[in-house]
């Protein structure tokens, strides 16, 4: 069961009319290393990960949905007042003819989200290494996004998200150590 809370995890403001940035931000909405992939990856892996780290996957997976909502808010705010002509001028013509101003789970190039972006191997070390890699890739994407905008408000929210990727990667690395220690210990029944 999930309960929705009517607030963002961290404030999202945009101080510039820069609809082109919405086209790039959507990478973190429906792209391979985006927030949807992250949430679904961890919440799916948690059923079969060893008990000691179920809580971590559950909680990080849940936090990813809050990040997905922040990205959606950025895209929504950047596009809500656009005319069709402005969307075309911002490189969003392809998006407009299929979705109008609705958000959709695709990457910056318009490729729709696919479950092939995520893995579930059932082997805890393999799954956690995938999770660490996913966080590092998302961190890099946030850095590239920060680099291509000069909107300081948008950068502020993106920096928050970039830092969360670092924390998540660190926690997953701790989870690997917990699993390794558990696997190495002698068990008596």
């Amino acid at each position: 069961m999930w309960i929705y809370e009517k607030k963002l995890q961290y404030p999202v403001r945009v101080s510039k009319c820069d609809p082109r940035m919405a086209k790039y931000l959507i990478e973190q909405y429906g792209g391979a290393d985006g927030e949807l992939s992250a949430a679904l990856r961890y919440l799916n892996q948690r059923y079969t990960i060893p008990p000691k780290v179920v809580g971590l996957l559950n909680d990080i997976g849940t936090e990813e949905f809050a990040h997905l909502e922040m990205i959606a808010t950025m895209v929504y705010k950047l596009t809500k007042d656009l005319t069709p002509e402005q969307m075309v001028a911002a490189g969003l013509g392809d998006h407009y003819v299929n979705h109008d101003k609705a958000l959709f789970y695709h990457n910056a190039s318009g490729v729709p989200w696919t479950a092939a972006y995520i893995q579930a191997k059932g082997d805890p070390i393999a799954d956690l290494y995938e999770d660490i890699a996913a966080e590092e890739k998302a961190r890099a994407t946030y850095q590239w996004l920060i680099d291509i905008t000069d909107d300081v408000d948008l950068q502020d929210s993106l920096k928050f998200l970039r830092e969360r990727e670092i924390i998540h990667a660190q926690r997953f690395k701790e989870a690997v150590e917990i699993i390794k220690e558990d696997q190495a210990s002698k068990k008596f029944y």
Binding site: G55, L56, I167
Partner: protein, 88 residues
Amino acid sequence: MEKPVIDDAYYKLLRELQEIDFVLVELNLYLDTHPGDAGALNQYNDFALKRQSVACEFEKRYGPLMNFGHSYSGYPFQWKESPWPWEV
């Protein structure tokens, strides 16, 4: 209940709640991998208590934060009223 005014006071209180919740998310994830850290656990419980009073204050002024009976509602049903998070 009259529609709440979204002014500086709203953003200030929302920010305060977001700050407390950030501490709680951080401590929660830390405790997931360090369950035996009593100091961190004390901080977690302290902030959980502080969170209740700030959330309660926010809801009194601006309406329910949560659905499915986790927040009280004034009449008529306030939950479905804007602003939604992406609108502020």
